[in-house]
């Protein structure tokens, strides 16, 4: 291959745009599928009319029950699934680059567990006496968990491997705390509800959740893009990144803060969903390579579409019953994770 024909970053603008369009098209199709498919079968025509009515007051005659299902239930649910999938995938991309470990994700590093503990502390223990919302509780839990994990990793030696080990310890600790709170303070009814929620559940999602999840993910996406080149520069470690002009401390602070915030928001809405943040970034790397300017949008899109499909599956696997979405992502994610491990071994 001649040098001129092998550039990896300069590509004509048009393919980039058309790939972007393709991505958005795929996402819209997935959203549409998320609305159409469900226990109450709906036709594309019905969905189109309801959306037209709600979005620009088209004034079609529609069944109010269908309209309710579509507009108040399935659409917000699907949008939150997309935001959540994209956000978790972004969190995984960022953590894997910063920690320089293929196994890093918010779940593994204890952030999700901390967020769960925070959310449970607010809902069951009534922490904050009603002044703190679930999201804020989840955020504080997430920050606390990450701070603890980071401190422990630092004390243990500070290498990427230490970070992962500390994350495992932190996850265990916070999961135990969560169980403890539930066992101590929740009645059987509450406990069942919370455990179901912790496994990941989009059933209760409504429009206010959309206005929390979508902006959080959008903000995350913008920040990730802003630091895409910096993330590239971490490939050879923090010292190399610094030598390439990256303000390492600042970038770590901003990006990890953003990941923590995003994870906390997601956990507070849908519970702790594993494997998405871990597996989707690898799938995206497989598609477009390791450069973050391309990896970030690809991972976000793949995560969004994957989560919408997982949500559909969670509603459809057992008729008349909703399987927690965390169970679905784990069922798909665990084999995906195994593949990553095997591929990593072959590399080294």
């Amino acid at each position: 291959m001649s040098l001129g024909s092998a550039p990896t970053l300069v590509r004509p603008i048009r393919p980039v745009l058309s790939r972007g369009m393709l991505g958005i098209l795929v996402l819209m199709l997935a959203v549409l599928a998320g609305i159409v498919i469900g226990e109450t079968p709906l036709s594309l025509g019905q969905v189109g009319r309801v959306l037209a009515n709600s979005l620009w007051g088209a004034g079609y005659a529609v069944d109010p029950v269908d309209a309710g299902i579509i507009w108040s239930y399935r659409l917000p649910r699907t949008l939150v699934a997309a935001a959540c999938g994209a956000g978790l995938a972004l969190a995984g991309v960022v953590l894997q680059a910063l920690v320089r470990n293929a196994l890093a994700d918010p779940y593994l590093l204890g952030v999700s567990a901390g967020a769960s503990t925070g959310a449970v502390a607010v809902t069951i223990l009534g922490l904050g006496g009603g002044a703190i919302g679930i999201s804020s509780g989840a955020f504080m839990g997430a920050v606390l968990a990450f701070a603890l994990v980071a401190l422990l990793a630092r004390a243990a030696g500070g290498s990427p491997a230490h970070m992962v080990l500390a994350g495992i310890a932190g996850s265990q600790l916070f999961n135990a705390l969560t169980s403890f709170f539930i066992a101590k303070s929740a009645n059987a009814e509450q406990a069942r509800g919370i455990i179901f929620w912790l496994l990941g559940n989009l059933s209760g999602v409504r429009w206010p959740d959309v206005w929390l999840a979508v902006p959080a993910t959008a903000l995350g996406l913008v920040i990730c893009f802003r630091y895409a080149r910096a993330l590239d520069a971490f490939a050879f470690g923090t010292d190399a990144a610094r030598a390439l002009g990256v303000p390492v401390r600042w970038v770590q602070f901003v990006l990890i803060g953003m990941v923590t915030l995003m994870t906390a928001v997601m956990v507070s809405i849908v519970g702790a969903i594993g494997f998405v943040g871990l597996v989707i970034p690898h799938a995206a790397r497989f598609i477009v390579g390791v450069r973050h300017l391309r990896l970030i949008p690809t991972a976000a899109l793949t995560g969004a579409v994957f989560m919408i499909l997982a949500d559909i599956a969670s509603r459809m696997i057992i008729p008349g019953q909703v399987v927690p979405i965390g169970v679905v992502t784990a069922l798909v994610g665990a084999p995906g994770f195994a593949l990553i491990l095997i591929r990593n071994r072959r590399e080294s």
Partner: protein
């Protein structure tokens, strides 16, 4: 570019690793750093590149304190090839070299034709063009070292710092690298173990126990007395009968040759 250090030092856990280093490196000069293992060469280089926190003393670039320059500004002036830097990312060789353009690019600006040309030149300079598409994990130690050097070249620095760059390189590429450095129009600070290679620098400094104990032209600094005191070896200068250049030949102090 001129780089100067003023009582530069660094300690870790109360241990002084580099102490009180006063260096004045002139624009365009090639300055060699030599010294036994653990004498502080790598630490001094990282200090001079502003990579270590809590440095004592200060470093100045063309009279401006390094500490007052933003990271990006420093990276446009100084490139460092560290002793060992590895990645588990599935980068290819060219992508690794492209990282050298980071300090010159704004967050969203795409690679320009000029950036591409600089990267291609850098790959060519280290004779790695034919392996540009190879994945990092498949490269040999010497090939990786050459890619690191290419990345530093792609950074287009005015001061190039190299930490034992000839490590892992076969003899042809060692000589090619030294020749490449000699031909560059930049200031070079290079840590070396091969004292015969160090002889080709304009000046050299000897590190021992974290201190710069001697500094000057190679012929003045590399005296047999110093070599036996610091490196614990005996040395004799032999003269090449063809061009009259001097080469050092070493032996153990115990073998009284």
């Amino acid at each position: 570019m001129r780089i100067e250090t003023f009582s530069l030092g660094w300690s870790s856990r109360g241990r002084r690793i580099v102490e009180d280093v006063e260096l004045r490196i002139r624009p365009g000069e090639t300055f060699g750093l030599i010294g036994p293992n653990g004498s502080g060469k790598s630490t001094l280089l990282r200090l001079m590149a502003g990579l270590l926190p809590r440095a004592q003393g200060r470093v100045e670039l063309d009279g401006r304190p390094l500490a007052t320059l933003p990271r990006g500004e420093i990276a446009r002036r100084i490139a460092l090839v560290a002793q060992a830097a590895d990645t588990a990312e599935r980068l290819n060789a060219r992508e690794a070299v492209e990282l050298g353009r980071t300090p010159w690019l704004s967050p969203f600006a795409p690679f320009s034709a000029m950036d591409e040309a600089i990267v291609s030149d850098a790959l060519e300079a280290v004779d790695m063009t034919h392996m540009a598409e190879r994945s990092w994990s498949t490269l040999s130690g010497g090939e990786r070292q050459r890619i690191h050097i290419a990345r530093a070249l792609a950074q287009r620095p005015r001061l190039l710092m190299l930490d034992e760059p000839t490590n892992h390189l076969d003899i042809q590429h060692q000589l090619a690298l030294l020749r490449l450095i000699a031909g560059l129009d930049v200031t070079v600070v290079i840590a070396l173990h091969d004292l015969n290679q160090a002889m080709r620098c304009d000046r050299i400094g000897i590190m021992d126990g974290g201190r710069l104990i001697s500094c000057g032209p190679p012929a003045e600094v590399l005296t047999p007395e110093r070599l036996s005191a610091i490196f614990r070896v005996g040395a004799r200068a032999l003269t090449d009968p063809v061009d009259g250049t001097q080469q050092l030949r070493f032996h153990c102090l115990e073998d009284h040759l």
